[in-house]
């Protein structure tokens, strides 16, 4: 055992210069210990993620409604019919799903884009110290810290037509007459984008601030000696150096926003306006309000496939680009 250990240690010492030495440590001893350490994580992942996911795929092939809920294994087999309903854009179910999907894509692109821009702007502005910086940083992080339902309930109140602050403010500024419906009709889409951005951009700020702390300052000094302006420094230094962080950040923001349930559910309760019919709510209603669980599961599986493809393509594209760079 000692011999192997020494060999391992020697190997490590030899490779110490590079950070990415293949990890071959203590392979000889404690072969079982890593598995013991992993066991709790694996058990819970199996129980709450893996098994339910497989079950969900199974359910999507069943004709499962409330009558079979207690005894769902006996629900009749439906073949691919749930999927056929979900993707048949000539039928009402497929048409509604496609609409909901389109709304979600628009919502996600807008929310992620705006949140990233705001987060990046604030992170750059807060990069150098000035009086009040620490206070601002704290203020900006509050929306992220608030429990989502409490924050969104406040927005719901602010956006209500007759008692809301938004209409009052707009009327005081003579922008509108103060009687706009914000939570029903087409305006609901704008409302939910604003609320989601308000919640999400602080996370972009937090991540980008953390990233910027690790950037070397001497490069900036050299650049400004060479006469590079703020905009040039941002484009030529900050953006390229933050590329790795941005790739992860944008992926995470995308997945969170696309799958978001909390914000629309709290903002609209049971009556979701058509213009803001986000996909996770749509699937939830198909399953738990219309009691068509098989169809809901088929929709979830389709969503999962979509996310897998998008994430896969994104990772492929970004990793190839950074390899070339």
């Amino acid at each position: 055992m000692t011999a192997t250990d020494n060999a391992v240690r020697e190997g490590r010492r030899a490779g110490k210069g590079s950070a990415k030495t293949p990890r071959r440590r203590r392979v000889a001893q404690n072969r079982w210990l890593p598995y013991v350490l992993l066991a709790p994580a694996i058990i819970f992942e199996l129980l709450v993620h893996v098994i339910p996911m497989l079950t969900g795929i199974g359910i999507s092939f069943l004709k499962l409604n409330q009558f079979f809920l207690r005894n769902w294994v006996e629900a009749p087999f439906a073949g691919l019919s749930n999927y056929r309903y979900a993707i048949d854009v000539n039928g009402s179910i497929g048409k509604a799903l496609l609409w909901s999907f389109a709304v979600t894509i628009a919502f996600t692109v807008l929310v992620v884009g705006i949140s990233w821009v705001l987060g990046m702007f604030a992170a750059v502005m807060l990069q150098r110290s000035f009086r009040g910086r620490a206070l601002l940083r704290t203020i900006f992080l509050i929306p992220y810290a608030l429990p989502v339902y409490a924050a969104v309930i406040v927005w719901k109140f602010m956006l209500s037509r007759d008692n809301g602050m938004v209409n009052h403010l707009l009327a005081q500024l003579h922008i509108t007459d103060g009687h706009t419906f914000w939570l029903i009709g087409n305006n609901a889409f704008a409302s939910i984008v604003v609320v989601a951005v308000w919640r999400l951009w602080p996370f972009a700020l937090l991540t980008l601030m953390a990233g910027m702390q690790s950037l070397p300052t001497d490069v900036y000094e050299a650049a400004s000696v060479d006469g590079a302006g703020m905009w040039q420094q941002f484009r030529k230094l900050t953006l390229p150096m933050l590329r790795g962080i941005n790739q992860v950040l944008i992926l995470v923001l995308f997945l969170w926003t696309f799958n978001d349930f909390n914000v629309p559910y709290t903002l609209f309760s049971a009556s979701i306006p058509k213009s803001a019919d986000l996909i996770s709510i749509h699937v939830y209603q198909s399953s738990f309000q219309n009691f068509n669980f098989g169809l809901g599961s088929a929709m979830s599986v389709l969503l999962l496939l979509f996310l897998l493809v998008v994430t896969g393509l994104y990772l492929l594209f970004t990793s190839r680009r950074s390899r070339r760079a």
Partner: protein
């Protein structure tokens, strides 16, 4: 370094607008919680007609807020504690050993991040119901079911972040502990955990907040006795009217502990992100 005047103007104006955007809901929350009911049922006003603390008294009587609050505390604290503990063990294994299946584990854990929560909801509900029927142990509607569910929500992110964090701790420290005769668990306890404190705190905050804010599973997995704040707060709305001043007061009450805790510990969160996620 000199900054141009136009840059300073952009900075002041931009940051001022962002501050207003950020703080507007907080202002509404606080000021409306101090208003009498007649004030919040009419048109909005920036200043209360008279300041009253009555909503903060009433919130506990209109709905069983105390029960929902304690449910939320029990569920979130337990979920965060277990999640951190399990993530520490798993991350230690991934960071310090090269074992068969290591890559598979990492990929599985990360990919659960992308799955829509709605995908697990119904199957998990059915599995919990079935376990209840088979064993008589009701997971559905109990706090334990919710704790188990929530702890896995934050687990992938926690493991991902802690592996990054543990990797930054020099292995020389492990070696030194080993020379002193410490076994792997002893090393974890007295070397790795102390050195990774910021990362562990960050992961703990994240897990707690995830559980404290969750509504999808809480809406299906709880019953009257296990309901959390996320669902309970809706009960201030009746068919006839909404007690908006109480809703705002209650929102403030449930937010304060989380926000204060977060702001006190945000330093760790930034450090944790820097070392763990940003690498």
């Amino acid at each position: 370094m000199r900054e141009s005047t136009s840059f300073k103007v952009i900075r002041v104006v931009g940051l001022a607008l962002l501050t207003l955007f950020t703080l507007a809901p907080l202002y509404v929350m606080i000021v409306s919680g101090l208003k009498p009911l007649s004030d919040v049922q009419g048109a909005f006003s920036w200043i209360p007609s008279h300041v009253t603390l009555q909503p903060f008294v009433d919130i506990w009587r209109t709905i069983p807020l105390a029960r929902y609050f304690s449910n939320s505390v029990i569920v979130s604290v337990s979920a965060a504690a277990f999640s951190v503990l399990i993530a520490i063990f798993a991350s230690y294994a991934v960071s310090r050993w090269n074992f068969r299946g290591r890559r598979l584990f990492q990929i599985t854990v990360l990919s659960t991040q992308m799955f829509p929560g709605i995908l697990f909801l119904l199957p998990l509900y059915l599995i919990f119901v079935n376990i209840g029927q088979a064993t008589g142990f009701a997971l559905q509607g109990s706090r334990i079911g919710l704790i188990i569910t929530y702890l896995t929500f934050s687990l992938p992110f926690s493991i991902w972040m802690l592996v990054g964090y543990f990797d930054t701790i020099p292995h020389g420290l492990d070696e030194a502990a080993k020379v002193d005769g410490a076994g792997p668990m002893r090393t974890l306890w007295s070397v790795v955990i102390p050195a990774a404190k910021p990362g562990i705190v960050a992961v703990g905050i994240y897990s707690f907040m995830t559980a404290w804010g969750e509504t999808l599973f809480a809406s299906v997995m709880t019953n009257d006795s296990s309901k959390t704040l996320a669902i309970g707060l809706r009960e201030y709305s009746t068919q006839i009217s909404v007690y908006w001043n109480q809703v705002m007061a209650a929102s403030l009450v449930v937010s304060v502990p989380v926000v204060v805790g977060f702001l006190l510990l945000q330093r760790y969160l930034v450090q944790g992100l820097t070392a763990g996620a940003v690498k």
